[in-house]
């Protein structure tokens, strides 16, 4: 079979031209392993996790053993899109040049998988069905007759265990010979009549008009407007036809369509699937954990427990012990003395200072990035990657749904917010999974305002490991209260309503060491590549400002705020300027000067609050403006800056009034 795939590869492409012309689009329900299959086909590394919504952007790459350009898409539940990222998948299918669709499905959830298959077959694109997670299905006692299923559907059907690379050869073979299905089934005559009427109004698409018509009828009328290529008059007649049909049929159209598909799916399942006794696959422990983690009280206890572990591991161990070791031993004793020794012989004072001075590239830029931030952020990524792979994150949605409804969001928003603790930039993109613009704006605001990203969090935890645990709790309580207040206010100001909360909970799975390690390395590498240039740039800017004498002027300018309002040393305004470039830079800055005893506990507390609330870094700001639009983006940034300073000032005054010194 490997042979077949190779032959295909050496043969000239059927359609000629460059490989980008032949797209193989991966489509499927969320959390079935599309990204893992993508990795399998292209050899490219992509982040895979155990929660729906890991992939929010289309990724593509050349297949290693096939003449295809493989496109990975965000998961869709049905062909009717619910959120921006689902819309992306549909657009990809409508974009043309799709040589074949590879539907990845969960072998345990065949009903849902086939329901989507039937919709995909209607597109008239060649489809291949891959039933992934075959190992779990087998352990649960599902025996699937793929040969028979393949015959009934008229397309190749294979089974894989993507995490172990099983079934790769069969998959490659199947994908190299995709076929259009001859399966046809009819709907209610009134639906069929509407389909042909709609087809007359639709522009040409790379997929069948029948499938577009059925999708439009399965969704809400507003879906018509989001259809690419439709004219206003056509759209109006499309809406008319749908409304008229709806009046005739009475039952919601989507139900009539789904029922027809479902009847066929049930028949296929009766013919092709045997469910034997389960082998008791779910361990007792997973069962108990499942109940406990979504229990109103147990879930909270577990959440606090997890947070405490993060504090101990990231704050106390990584930001304390490991950073001390890096800073004092590796940099302080081993690396820096010889480097400074050599470089201080440079005859040009300016160059010398540029490299190893108080604002030196090596002494400040590199040291901050590698000695302080890197160990902390890596530790955080380890915990984070582990949590992602267990399947815990969607459970958090269940626990926090009520709380989130206070701020006009629902449990779904837990995913982008929690991801914000990893990286705010990434999280701002993930807000796409939210259904309405209103929800996306509120979530973006919360993220920009007060969700510390991984390096920042590491620094906060590291600092509080020295200040104390009680102040840490106080800090987060204060922060949470502010975020809820801000979110609540935003939800009152923005028109619209909170949408209903529905989410799918993946099974708990034991994280694979390889995957957790892979993700950590990938993210740490990304951090080094992405962040160090910014650190060097920031340091260079400070250096220039210092040399030209602009820095003291700037400090004077900011002094009323920094000294007067926040009672911080005038020098720390340079920290906030750095914060504009990268959030973690300001965090590392305060971590450093606190470690050197330049600020006391109270000042550290206030400074940490301000920098947490303070404006997001450049990359984040750009993404916010790109995702939310310039106007909303600017409004969010302005609000955040003003708010951070005001809140810091009030906090400082109150704490001093109460004589709290920690």
């Amino acid at each position: 079979m490997e042979q077949a795939a190779k032959t295909e590869q050496t043969m000239p492409p059927a359609h000629g031209g460059d490989p980008q012309e032949r797209k193989l689009v991966l489509v499927g329900n969320p959390n079935v392993g599309k990204s893992k299959i993508f990795s399998m086909l292209t050899g490219q590394y992509v982040i895979v996790s155990n929660y729906p919504g890991t992939t929010v952007e289309v990724k593509s790459g050349k297949a290693t053993d096939l003449d295809y350009y493989v496109v990975d898409t965000p998961g869709i539940t049905s062909v009717v899109p619910r959120s921006e990222e689902e819309r992306v998948t549909l657009k990809t299918l409508l974009s043309g040049k799709v040589a074949a669709v590879l539907q990845v499905g969960d072998a345990q959830n065949l009903r849902r998988t086939l329901l989507l298959t039937l919709a995909l077959l209607e597109t008239d694109l060649p489809v291949v069905l891959d039933l992934n997670i075959a190992d779990e299905a087998e352990k649960k006692g599902y025996v699937i007759d793929t040969a028979r299923l393949s015959k009934s559907l008229g397309i190749p059907v294979v089974m894989t265990v993507a995490t172990e690379g099983k079934g790769r050869r069969e998959l490659l073979d199947a994908v190299s010979r995709p076929s259009k299905s001859s399966l046809r089934f009819a709907y209610d005559p009134r639906i069929e009549k509407a389909v042909s009427e709609l087809a007359a109004c639709l522009p040409d698409y790379p997929v069948s008009k029948r499938s577009v018509a059925l999708t439009l009828m399965s969704g809400n009328l507003s879906l018509v407007d989001s259809l690419p290529g439709g004219g206003e008059t056509e759209n109006r007649s499309i809406k008319e036809i749908i409304t008229r049909t709806q009046v005739q049929v009475l039952e919601p159209l989507s139900r009539v369509i789904m029922d027809a598909r479902m009847a066929l799916v049930e028949r296929l399942i009766r013919e092709c699937v045997v469910h034997k006794e389960s082998m008791g696959f779910r361990s007792r422990f997973a069962g108990i954990l499942d109940r406990f983690s979504t229990h109103p009280l147990g879930g909270m206890v577990l959440l606090l427990g997890i947070l405490f572990v993060i504090y101990e591991f990231v704050g106390v161990f990584a930001a304390g012990t490991v950073v001390d070791f890096f800073q004092n031993v590796i940099f302080g004793e081993i690396l820096l003395p010889p480097i400074i020794g050599v470089l201080s012989r440079i005859p040009y004072a300016l160059l010398r200072d540029f490299l190893v001075g108080p604002y030196g590239q090596i002494t400040m830029g590199i040291t901050y990035a590698i000695a302080i931030v890197f160990p902390t952020v890596t530790a955080f990524f380890i915990v984070f990657s582990f949590l992602e792979d267990t399947g815990y994150l969607p459970r958090l949605e269940v626990i926090l749904n009520r709380l989130f409804s206070l701020i006009g969001l629902n449990g779904k928003a837990v995913i982008p917010i929690v991801l914000g603790f990893g990286c705010g930039t990434m999280a701002a993109i993930v807000t796409r999974i939210l259904e309405t613009r209103r929800e996306r704006i509120i979530a973006t605001l919360i993220l920009a305002l007060g969700i510390p990203c991984a390096p920042q969090m590491g620094m906060i935890l590291g600092m509080f490991a020295r200040i104390g645990f009680v102040p840490l709790v106080l800090f987060f309580v204060l922060l949470t209260v502010q975020l809820i207040a801000a979110g609540w206010l935003a939800s009152k100001l923005l028109p619209g309503q909170t949408t209903a909360f529905v989410t799918e909970l993946p099974p708990y799975r034991l994280p694979q060491l390889r995957n957790v390690a892979g993700k950590t390395v990938y993210r740490s590498y990304w951090f080094v590549r992405e962040v160090i240039p910014w650190f060097l740039l920031g340091t260079a800017l400070l250096f220039v400002a210092d040399v030209t004498g602009a820095l003291p002027g700037l400090k004077n300018l900011l002094s009323p705020v920094v000294v007067g309002l926040l009672s911080l040393p005038a020098d720390t305004s340079e920290g906030f300027i750095l914060g504009l470039l990268r959030r973690e830079y300001v965090a590392a800055y305060f971590f450093d000067i606190y470690g050197r005893g330049l600020i006391d506990n109270l000042q550290a507390f206030v400074a940490t609050m301000v920098m947490t609330l303070f404006v997001p870094c450049v990359a984040n700001t750009f993404v916010i403006m790109k995702e939310r639009g310039l106007l909303v983006g600017l409004a969010i940034v302005c609000f955040v800056v003003v708010y951070a300073i005001t809140a810091g000032g009030i906090l400082n005054a109150v704490l001093r009034l109460l004589h709290v010194t920690f």
């Binding site: 329900n29 969960d106 959830n109 989507s254 409804s405 449990g411 909360f501 989410t503």
Partner: protein, 242 residues
């Protein structure tokens, strides 16, 4: 006076049991398990009654078995509750009421009869003044009606049910829920109610809030009422005959 319904082939046994009950009542006997039945009441269906285990022959007597008594009680109860319902609530007059009651008695299951009973406030007698045998709902003194199809919000944690329908006209939401497996005829198990609803459908676990749960209407698999067992057996008996 109350009439005996004209037997129709499918419901023969139920009709005969009904006749046995009323005959006993006419003789001023309180129908009970082990009661001696006039052979005439059983008519030519005696053999069938015996084979179904509803009566047994002891010497020359025909005796009502536990099962037979229970069945008979159920059918009488359904008939007379139906009469009350038609008479009191729908205000139907004698003849029309009788005709309908004869049909309803075969249609009302134990649970539906209990629901009618609760609705009417546990009536003691039918419009003709005959006793309505009390059901479990009367003993439990239930006052709130629990319909056969309820929104998911009415289920207890751990209860299983079958999806009856999803009561939303929002096409997109309907498509989404169907794709998750929430569709007519699928069995669901409610895992928990707080802080969010969690249900299991096949191998899929779905969490949602109140707004969605209120739109999903289900048929509880078995009620947490003492009648549940009896209901199950009745069902099997009917199936056996069908």
């Amino acid at each position: 006076m109350e009439e005996i319904c004209r037997p129709c082939s499918r419901e023969d046994l139920e009709e005969i049991l009904e006749e046995i009950w009323t005959t006993l009542e006419l003789k001023n006997e309180i129908p009970a398990s082990g009661a001696r039945i006039p052979t005439a009441a059983a008519g030519d269906k005696l053999e069938m009654l015996v084979s179904e285990g509803l009566v047994r022959q002891q010497d020359k007597d025909v005796i009502l078995t536990d099962e037979g008594f229970r069945k008979a009680k159920e059918i009488i109860r359904s008939h007379r509750l139906a009469e009350r319902l038609l008479h009191d609530v729908l205000d139907l007059q004698s003849e029309e009421m009788e005709r309908s009651a004869c049909r309803y008695e075969h249609m009302l299951g134990t649970e539906a009869a209990d629901s009618v009973c609760i609705l009417l406030g546990h009536p003691r007698t039918c419009p003709h003044g005959k006793a309505i045998p009390p059901g479990d709902c009367c003993e439990a003194g239930e006052t709130t009606l629990r319909p056969l199809v309820v929104p998911l919000t009415e289920l207890d944690s751990g209860e299983t049910a079958t999806v009856a329908y999803v009561g939303t006209r929002d096409n997109a939401r309907l498509s989404y829920l169907t794709s998750l497996g929430v569709m007519t005829g699928r069995p669901v198990q409610l895992v928990q109610r707080h802080p969010s609803y969690i249900v299991k459908i096949d191998e899929t676990t779905v969490a949602f809030d109140d707004a969605i749960a209120r739109e999903i209407f289900v048929r509880p698999a078995h009620r947490k009422r003492p009648t549940s067992k009896a209901g199950g057996r009745r069902f099997r008996w009917r199936n056996g005959r069908g």
